[in-house]
């Protein structure tokens, strides 16, 4: 083995990106491969709660303790991804006093700051809480932007020399005898950033060690490595319903034992309602059902009654990669532990140089990354300290005061402020744009400079730029900005690529929007349809359909009669001319 071992990390979610950053910072050569965008799997499909640990304080205290520890770390190293909203566990009159007490004591046992509030005090913080609530426990929950966090980890890994390949699904795990020696990936558009319409290639990436951090997809990768014993991840789907505005500014939890529809997380301009937990067979193909959306609204209205009449802008589903060691035999997936497991396939299956990490949760991604990095380093006899808990992520360095960027970059508040909140310490670098910097996405206040920065980071994939910038994620769901974002691709990419990216983004927005189609949002969707189909005629666009238009068969106008060609054929039917 060389003195600088090469590790391939499979999976561009929070865990994979966390591992890649950690290993790269410890001086290893790292390649991360991801089948879609960063956060494509589970990470991009969660409610964005930065756990205080309160939710696990009764049933799973080990997890709760990890959560509060990592909660503090992330506030420090990822300040531009975290909003400390605070959280409340709200007790309704029908909820048990005994459980409330257990929750309070549990929090204290785990070192989670917890304070009991009367109903009046709770409603002072959150005026839209139901009038009949009994009381609440206040904990340091927060909201975290999973996309921004993942991208920042990947960016840090790159700064430390790692190679990040998105849209590069693993098609094979390469083995020699009982050793894993690398992976074969299919670059959907050649290596590097994704470019639409660019033909793909395959690449064998040889490595000294392979880490499988693919969550719900871990079993599939295990199979490719020829493991005899299946990695039994039990995917559990859950719905998240996004509201058009922040009905609450604090994370609101229902204070009762596990249940569906028991959390509301304020997130940027929206609030996210969650969730359900239903075990599914296939993490990529499962039903997204109406009852789940209805359940969110109907149940959470008990806590915040205004939700009943409020407008939702879309719903999305995520798949939890729950894992339990063989033989545990839990029948109800909601009872499966949220703890994570490191499966060294050398011990487990006799396959060398290959480890999978399964289970766990988003809040503790860094800790999981540290554990597995320790494990990998140990294999190579490398003794380097983990620094991921101490070194801020790109965007969160020395950034204490959010300035008003109105003056400096010619952007009116609050657009400048919103940009600065997203970009953190990268604000100057990104907003210092050469040329006019108009707003591209008005709902989320995203300017051209930020969109261009997103494109620079992720290629012609506008869904990736969306995740980096939040452009097209607001109330209008891209009605007014899908085409604008696509126009920002042009020059660097050709028109065909830009149009492809537009169409893909438009369809992706529709996927979640259709779960919110009633009332105002149906009206909004009809407006979007009108703008893109009636005004722009993109649904019948002759350049992207098979239609071959015989232009000479159509009206050639009246005004241009003198310039020859097909013009001047007006009024053959004896109709009135436009000029009389």
């Amino acid at each position: 083995m060389s003195n600088k071992p090469h590790v391939v990390v499979i999976g561009g979610g929070s865990t994979g990106c966390g591992i890649a950053r950690d290993l790269a910072m410890r001086g290893l050569e790292v390649t991360l491969v991801e089948q879609g965008n960063l956060t494509h799997g589970t990470t991009g499909r969660m409610h964005g709660l930065l756990h205080s640990g309160g939710r696990y304080a009764v049933a799973d205290q080990a997890s709760a303790k990890e959560c509060i520890e990592e909660n503090r770390v992330l506030r420090d190293i990822a300040s531009h991804c975290v909003e400390m909203t605070g959280g409340l566990f709200v007790q309704r009159p029908e909820d048990s006093d005994e459980y409330f007490q257990e929750k309070l004591e549990g929090c204290r046992e785990c070192g989670i700051p917890a304070e009991v509030l009367s109903a009046e005090e709770a409603r002072e913080i959150e005026p839209y809480l139901a009038k009949d609530i009994k009381r609440a426990i206040k904990v340091p929950d927060g909201a975290v932007d999973p996309f921004r966090l993942c991208v920042a980890n990947a960016a840090s890994a790159e700064e430390h020399g790692a190679r990040i390949e998105t849209h590069a699904p693993v098609v094979d795990v390469l083995t020699e005898g009982d050793e894993v020696v690398g992976v074969e990936v299919e670059h959907e558009s050649g290596p590097g950033k994704r470019v639409h319409r660019e033909p793909g290639t395959r690449e064998e990436i040889h490595a000294d060690y392979v880490v499988n951090a693919t969550g719900a997809w871990a079993g599939r990768v295990g199979e490719m490595a020829g493991l005899e014993q299946e990695i039994e991840v039990r995917p559990g789907k859950g719905v998240m319903t996004i509201m058009n505005t922040r009905q609450v500014d604090t994370a609101i939890n229902r204070c009762k034992p596990k249940g569906d529809a028991d959390i509301i997380v304020p997130h940027e301009t929206t609030a996210i309602l969650g969730t359900t937990d239903v075990e599914v067979e296939d993490p990529e193909d499962y039903p997204e059902e109406q009852w789940e959306v209805d359940l969110m609204i109907d149940t959470l209205s008990d806590l915040v009654p205004m939700l009943e009449e409020a407008r939702t802008i879309r719903s999305f589903w995520g798949v939890r990669p729950l894992y339990e060691p063989p033989g545990t035999g839990t029948s109800d997936s909601t009872d499966i532990t949220r703890d994570f497991f490191l499966l060294d396939h050398s011990d487990r299956d006799g396959v060398e140089n290959f480890t999978s990490i399964v289970g766990g949760k988003f809040t503790t991604y860094r800790m999981m990354g540290e554990d597995i990095s320790d494990h990998v380093c140990e294999q190579f006899g490398i003794d380097v300290e983990c620094r991921t808990a101490d070194e801020p992520l790109p965007g969160s360095e020395d950034f204490t005061v959010l300035r008003d960027y109105m003056e400096q970059f010619g952007i009116r508040s609050p657009i400048g402020r919103r940009s600065a909140q997203r970009l953190g310490s990268r604000t100057d670098e990104v907003l210092d744009y050469d040329g006019p910097n108009p707003t591209v996405c008005e709902c989320e206040a995203v300017t051209r400079a930020e969109v261009k920065d997103g494109i620079e980071g992720s290629g012609s994939d506008l869904n990736a730029t969306r995740l980096r910038t939040r452009a097209s994620m607001g109330n209008c769901q891209g009605a007014f900005c899908c085409h604008r974002m696509s126009a920002e691709l042009y020059d660097e990419y050709d028109a065909e690529t830009a149009y492809d990216a537009w169409d893909e983004l438009y369809q992706e927005r529709w996927k979640g929007e259709r779960h919110a189609l009633w009332g105002t949002q149906l009206s909004q969707a009809a407006l979007k349809y009108s703008l893109h189909a009636t005004t722009m005629n993109r649904d019948k666009d002759a350049a992207t359909t098979d239609s071959v238009v015989d232009f000479s068969a159509f009206d050639s106008g009246t005004a241009a009669g003198t310039s020859g060609g097909t013009t001047g054929t007006a009024a053959t039917d004896g109709g009135r001319t436009g000029d009389d």
């Binding site: 109406q290 609204i297 006019p436 910097n437 108009p438 591209v440 051209r448 007014f480 085409h483 126009a487 020059d491 028109a495 369809q507 927005r509 529709w510 259709r514 189609l517 009633w518 009332g519 149906l522 009206s523 969707a525 009809a526 407006l527 349809y529 009108s530 703008l531 189909a533 009636t534 005004t535 722009m536 005629n537 993109r538 649904d539 019948k540 666009d541 002759a542 350049a543 359909t545 098979d546 239609s547 238009v549 000479s552 068969a553 159509f554 009206d555 050639s556 106008g557 009246t558 005004a559 241009a560 060609g565 013009t567 007006a570 009024a571 053959t572 109709g575 009135r576 001319t577 436009g578």
Partner: protein, 432 residues
């Protein structure tokens, strides 16, 4: 004094305005009740009659294609004559400001999305952009705007096989702007020909813009710009630019805020005024009184005070889902909020949409069902009220978005509803 008219039209968009004018032409006294500004102001200003019917191939002659439509299509119900009458009425209202009435054939007009769209009438300001004209074209985009990129739009037109050479360029709009200026700011500057600093001297905005464009014109014989060439003085702005550049200038229809839509909306308002129609603007209709299957009055919420408006005949032209003439809820399903007219729709809201964004969208068909005199029908096919008619997007039965038939359907149904309402109101008077 109680408010009493022969005809009350609810909704001030294309359909409501035309229905009101049509009713007034019969000699009836007409009042137009409008609430919010019409969605027409967001529309492109193109008057589509029928662009597609099922396939991706554009229809050349929309009138000839009417017979292929299903029997429950609003055009089939209103009849071919109504489609012609609607357009005739439109042509009369807009005069020279629109073109396309010299032929029954559709025109293909470039949209800001880079596609060409079949349409029956187009603003004179857009005429030089017609795609079946082989003169070379230059598309201007602006760095200060984000709606489209000039070169990208040009490339895309080429990809559709247009019969002319087309180039595109991104220019800078003369003068100083804050980064988040809106299109209205640019339009205003051209409209009043505000002085700007351009290349070291002070000049009118129109001249400065022409100077900015000129180096890029090359062989082009026509130049397209976003439809923001002025507001009140749009012809002047265009003529000035044409004079400076020596080539035709045209506007590319845009999304909201859409100047062609706003201009058309203003023209309609003038025409409604001229027809002697009274206008009650800014107040919603919140209820009605009915007796023996006839509406006696509608209740208008006038700043918190509920005022009954009496009439013999009523026209409902409140728009579709976008205009809020049709409402929906998780529990309530799809409803018509004023008179609770029947709107057929699947019970399960997951049957309201197609999974493909541009698939056959059931929600796009939502609307009331009407008889040949435009009376909304109940679930058992009887008129909801003897004296209520519908016009425009509140009528369902066709995806006018996919067909590019929205304006035509509004016009055709409006002339039938307006004329019938006016005539019937006259009969009421005779019989009373």
């Amino acid at each position: 004094m109680a408010i009493r008219e022969d005809v009350i039209v609810i909704g001030g968009g294309l359909a409501g305005s035309v229905a009101a004018i049509e009713a007034a032409e019969t000699g009836a006294s007409v009042r137009l009740v409008t609430y919010k500004k019409s969605t027409l102001r967001h529309a492109s200003g193109l008057i589509d009659v029928l662009g597609y019917n099922g396939s991706d191939d554009p229809i050349t002659d929309p009138f000839a294609a009417l017979e292929n439509l299903p029997a429950d299509h609003p055009y089939s119900v209103a009849g071919e004559a109504a489609v012609h009458d609607g357009l005739d009425r439109f042509d009369e209202i807009v005069g020279d400001s629109y073109q396309g009435d010299h032929t029954d054939t559709n025109a293909l007009i470039p949209t800001f999305g880079g596609a060409v769209k079949p349409t029956a009438r187009y603003p004179a300001a857009a005429a030089a952009g017609i795609a079946s004209d082989d003169r070379p074209m230059l598309i201007i985009g602006f760095e200060e705007m984000t709606e489209y990129n000039g070169s990208m739009l040009a490339d895309h037109l080429e990809a559709a096989g247009v019969p002319f050479d087309v180039e595109g360029v991104e220019c800078s709009f003369p003068g100083e702007y804050v980064n988040d200026s809106r299109v209205t700011r640019f339009a205003k500057r051209l409209d009043i020909n505000e002085n700007v600093e351009y290349e070291g001297r002070t000049t009118g905005a129109r001249e400065a813009l022409a100077n900015e464009i000129e180096p890029h014109v090359g062989d082009a014989e026509r130049v397209g710009l976003p439809a923001f060439l002025g507001d009140d003085h749009t012809d002047e702005v265009r003529t000035d630019l044409e004079r400076h550049l020596g080539v035709d200038v045209f506007e590319i229809p845009m999304g909201p805020p859409s100047y062609p839509g706003i201009r058309l909306s203003d023209q309609l308002k003038d025409a409604v005024d001229e027809a002697g129609v009274r206008i009650s603007a800014g107040n919603p209709v919140v209820g009605f009184e009915a007796e023996d299957g006839e509406i006696q009055s509608v209740t208008v919420d006038s700043k918190g005070r509920e005022v009954p408006y009496h009439a013999d005949e009523y026209v409902l032209a409140t728009g579709g889902l976008v205009g809020k003439g049709i409402d929906s809820g998780r529990e309530e399903g799809v409803t018509e909020p004023i008179f609770d007219c029947h709107i057929p729709h699947p019970e399960d809201r997951y049957d309201w949409f197609d999974k493909e964004a541009f698939g056959d969208q059931p929600f796009a068909h939502f609307g009331v069902v009407v008889d040949e005199t435009m009376r909304p029908l109940s679930a058992d096919d009887a008129p909801e009220f003897d004296n209520l008619r519908a016009a425009g997007a509140v009528i369902g039965g066709a995806d006018t978005v996919a067909e590019k038939s929205q304006s035509g359907v509004s016009l055709a149904t409006a002339v039938v509803a307006g004329e019938r309402a006016g005539e019937r109101a006259a009969k009421h008077e005779v019989s009373q």
